[in-house]
């Protein structure tokens, strides 16, 4: 009996061994091609910052040690700086009006949660913003927004709603003292928040469940002193100038369109009527220009079907301009300088500039340029 058991055990282990050593196929990986994303411009258009992920091309086999870095370009002097750390990924940069300071996210921090950092762009001196509330595993911080002067900061963080559930909420304050000033649930957010250039108003997507048990994304607005008020619902992706709020809303056909709300006049109007989604609006600080991403092919001539393109809309004249004509890949994450004269965006297109480039670049467009130009900074 013992012998039989030993033989069975031996055979069993041999089969286990065979399962381990048998020849294997190599994994083929889906590709995620975006390398450079989330560009941001200072109001004067002099400074450009964006994320760069050196390993963002393959889903499988990604080197976990690779960390996203922030590229900072002074367009006046062509001085290029890279904010990187071998252990921390730097993400979501936001510049002040003069570009002297930059807020961004660093993940993971010493306690493994994301932090918000402020950097002086000339010296790249970094300092960490104290999060409003932090306990092991809870209280991570994302998506910073900084006012034109750099004195007001807002970002997404978490605070306890019950012993084990932390709601995602809006943090607002100065870089020296951040708080979560809005009532619970009212300030529960999906994470899309906007801060006006003067730092006096914050708008966020509220993500609390409503009476019908539907997550109805409601745009809440507050000047930080009075109680938050509802702007619209369901509505998404707010962007602010001092007087205006642009955002995304679904039309009667279920297509996402760009809307604009004037706080002084209390009026809201629809800006786009495209045949496909328009998303990611970004208002210039002077409130005269708006850039956005759109899959629509009927906003202007020249938009290639099947790809998202970048448009510039002059709000005073309602003139729409396609910045990525004939682009052979998606363009996205647009941002605009304070006067609307400079636009930056990321793109998977290879044919937007004079020469063909690899997909996954950040591009710049300026009034007076015939075509947009890729920001070629990566030969180093």
């Amino acid at each position: 009996m013992k012998k039989v058991l030993l033989i069975v055990a031996g055979l069993w282990l041999a089969l286990c061994f065979w399962a381990v050593v048998k020849p294997r196929e190599e994994a083929t990986s889906p590709i995620l091609p975006w390398l450079e994303v989330h560009p941001t411009l200072s109001e004067n258009g002099r400074w450009l910052a964006f994320e760069r992920d050196p390993e963002a091309d393959a889903v499988f086999g990604r080197n976990p040690k690779a960390r996203t870095e922030i590229v900072l370009l002074d367009r006046e002097t062509d001085k290029l700086q890279v904010v990187r750390d071998p252990k921390i990924a730097y993400l979501s940069p936001q510049l002040t009006a003069d570009g002297s300071r930059m807020a961004f996210e660093g993940a993971p921090g010493p306690d493994f949660l994301s932090d918000i950092y402020i950097a002086e762009t000339e010296t790249l001196t970094l300092r960490k913003v104290q999060p409003p509330r932090r306990e092991g595993g809870h209280g991570t911080c994302f998506a910073p927004r900084i006012s034109a002067s750099g004195e007001v900061l807002s970002f997404v963080t978490y605070r306890p709603l019950s012993e084990w559930y932390w709601e995602r909420t809006v943090a607002l304050g100065s870089p020296e003292k951040m708080e979560t000033p809005f009532p619970k649930r009212v300030s529960e957010t999906s994470g899309a928040i906007a801060l006006s250039p003067d730092g006096r108003r914050v708008v966020w997507e509220n993500d609390a469940i409503d009476a019908d048990e539907i997550y109805r994304r409601r745009l809440m607005s507050s000047d930080g002193e009075s109680s938050p008020v509802s702007l619209d619902a369901p509505a998404w992706e707010p962007t602010l100038s001092n007087e205006l709020c642009a955002y995304v809303k679904s039309d009667n056909d279920g297509i996402y369109q760009i809307m604009i709300h004037d706080f002084e006049k209390g009026q809201t109007r629809q800006l786009t009527r495209g045949n496909d989604d328009s998303l990611e609006p970004c208002l210039s600080a002077d409130g005269k220009s708006l850039v956005f991403t759109s899959y629509a092919t009927d906003l202007t001539d020249g938009a290639k079907s099947g790809h998202s393109h970048i448009y510039l809309l002059e709000l005073e004249t309602s003139q729409v301009r396609l910045l990525t004509p004939g682009g052979d890949g998606n363009s996205y994450n647009p941002t605009v300088s304070g006067d609307g004269a400079t636009v930056a965006f990321a793109s998977l297109a290879t044919n937007l500039g004079e020469e063909k480039v690899e997909p996954g670049q950040v591009y710049l467009w300026e009034r007076g340029w015939g075509r947009c130009r890729p920001v070629k900074v990566f030969s180093e």
Partner: protein, 494 residues
């Protein structure tokens, strides 16, 4: 009671346990209560291992051996060659856990209990909530830890070094955390046996800790796994955490004394009539894992309903047996104690997953369409957590919303935070749509509202991601699929 009768009774109880828990596990799978985390992960791991596929786990975003140390899983491979199925895993897990009743029975006999009383001790093991919930929690190789440690304890008491070594090695092959338990067992071995047993046990535990660390680094791009971050309230490494506990003992105890932790401790000790507290020397090996559970910020570790008690059961039973023996030595009546222990076994069984409280929470049986079986193994599938366990036999199965948006994927600290607290960078519609366009996914399979699991997203984000699938022009919904699954196929896919 005669030995033969007692052993038959124990076999009958064990068989009853296996039948009941096999049915429960299979029913949970059919009712979409099991999920990609964890049955899908291990089913895919075995599928890849036995089918000569690359050992990259698309469900988790890492190497099969890059997250936990569980070579014991390979012992299932020969069975998997014959019947590659989640059902096999669930039944095999039940059998492996149930085997622990036998060493529990023998432990009772070793300590001088009569046959009937020893059977009762075996029943206590089977009825203990840590065992039942370990069995109920999907599938996890750590389940084998409970019987392996039960055998280790038995052989330590019976002074059988070969059996003890084999049992300890088996335990070490269940999880990387077992090394710490074995180190603590070395201290008890010094108490129970002698310094040579203690030294040997210590050596095995230390080798286990070092070996598993090297193993995990090898399969994780030369990086440590991020689990030390579960204790960031106390430090960012094992050394820092232990230092904090030693230098701030009162503060640490105060931090641990939460209602949830007290409830957890009640569920551990009450089913054994608090007898283990009479044998603290036998409870010592529970300290590393018990502290790990009580100190972690991960909610699931403070709940009896999960698999985090696997390393505790054997020592709780051992301490209960010795505690009962010590009561006997002080003159406690066998009849009264036997009656109380029997009552405790029945009550704790009812407190466990087969109690009405938990059974009543099971949803209705889901109707899982046969169309799912027709999705080819070469297809790239994205599935909801609840239904993904039915689609794991392929090398590219992703947990929704991966790979469109990366969430709880890979072995980064961010991934662990997302798994434990759902704290992650917000989703955007544009990024989701671009993700859908960039990665060629053939099928997206979710389930009807009443079965859906929002993990790893928050409710609103899950809602948003589902909505974007529904409105995407890249996918078409297969309207002819009947049942509780919702299937979208990439347009143009045959």
């Amino acid at each position: 009671m005669e030995k033969k009768t007692a052993q038959r009774l124990l076999a009958a109880l064990t068989a009853l346990y296996i039948v009941c828990f096999s049915i429960l596990s299979l029913e949970r799978h059919q009712r979409l209560v099991t999920s990609i985390f964890d049955v899908g992960i291990f089913d895919q791991a075995l599928y890849l291992t036995t089918h000569g596929e690359s050992l990259f786990l698309s469900t988790r975003g890492l190497h099969v051996h890059g997250d936990h140390f569980h070579p014991i899983l390979l012992l299932f491979a020969p069975l998997y060659f014959i019947w590659p199925s989640v059902s096999l895993l669930l039944i095999a897990q039940t059998v492996v856990i149930a085997i622990g009743a036998y060493p529990a029975y023998r432990l009772g006999r070793h300590h001088g209990f009569r046959e009937g009383q020893a059977v009762l001790i075996g029943a206590l093991y089977l009825a203990h909530p840590t065992v039942g919930f370990l069995n109920r929690f999907d599938f996890h190789p750590v389940s084998a830890l409970a019987p392996a440690l039960m055998f280790a304890v038995l052989y330590l008491e019976e002074k059988k070094p070969v059996g003890f070594t084999l049992a300890v090695v088996a335990a070490l092959c269940c999880t990387e955390a077992a090394g710490f338990t074995i180190l603590a067992l070395a201290v008890t071995a010094l108490w129970v046996r002698d310094k040579w047993w203690a030294l040997g046990t210590f050596g095995l535990g230390a080798a286990g800790i070092v070996g598993t660390k090297l193993w995990l680094r090898h399969f994780n791009h030369d990086e440590s796994t991020p689990y030390a971050m579960l204790y960031t309230n106390y430090g960012t490494s094992e050394v820092e955490v232990v230092t904090h506990l030693l230098t701030h003992p009162l503060q640490s105890v105060a931090q641990m004394a939460t209602p949830l932790n007290l409830e957890y401790l009640f569920y551990l000790f009450a089913p054994l009539l608090f007898l283990p507290l009479l044998a603290p020397d036998r409870l010592l090996p529970t300290v590393p894992v018990l502290l790990g559970n009580l100190l972690s910020w991960r909610h699931a570790q403070h709940r009896i309903e999960n698999h985090y008690g696997a390393a505790l059961t054997a020592f709780l039973i051992w301490a209960a047996v010795v505690g009962w023996k010590r009561l006997r030595e002080r003159g406690a009546s066998d009849r009264w104690m036997g009656g109380l222990v029997l009552m405790a076994a029945v009550v704790s069984f009812l407190l466990g997953p087969l109690g009405s409280k938990h059974l009543s929470r099971l949803p209705e049986r889901a109707s899982i369409p046969t169309a799912l079986e027709q999705i080819g193994q070469d297809k790239v599938v994205v599935a909801g957590n609840e239904i993904g366990g039915h689609l794991t036999h392929r090398d590219k199965l992703f947990l929704f919303p991966n790979p469109f948006i990366v969430a709880a994927w890979g072995n980064s600290p961010e991934s662990l935070v997302q798994q434990g607290t759902a704290e992650y960078r917000p989703l955007t519609r544009g990024a989701l749509r671009r993700g859908m366009e960039a990665v060629s996914v053939d099928f997206v399979v979710l389930s009807e509202h009443e079965f859906r699991s929002e993990f790893p997203l928050r409710g609103g984000d899950h809602d948003l991601a589902r909505k974007e699938i529904r409105r995407s022009s890249l996918f078409e919904k297969l309207e002819d699929v009947e049942g509780d699954a919702l299937v979208w196929k990439r347009k143009g896919e045959p």
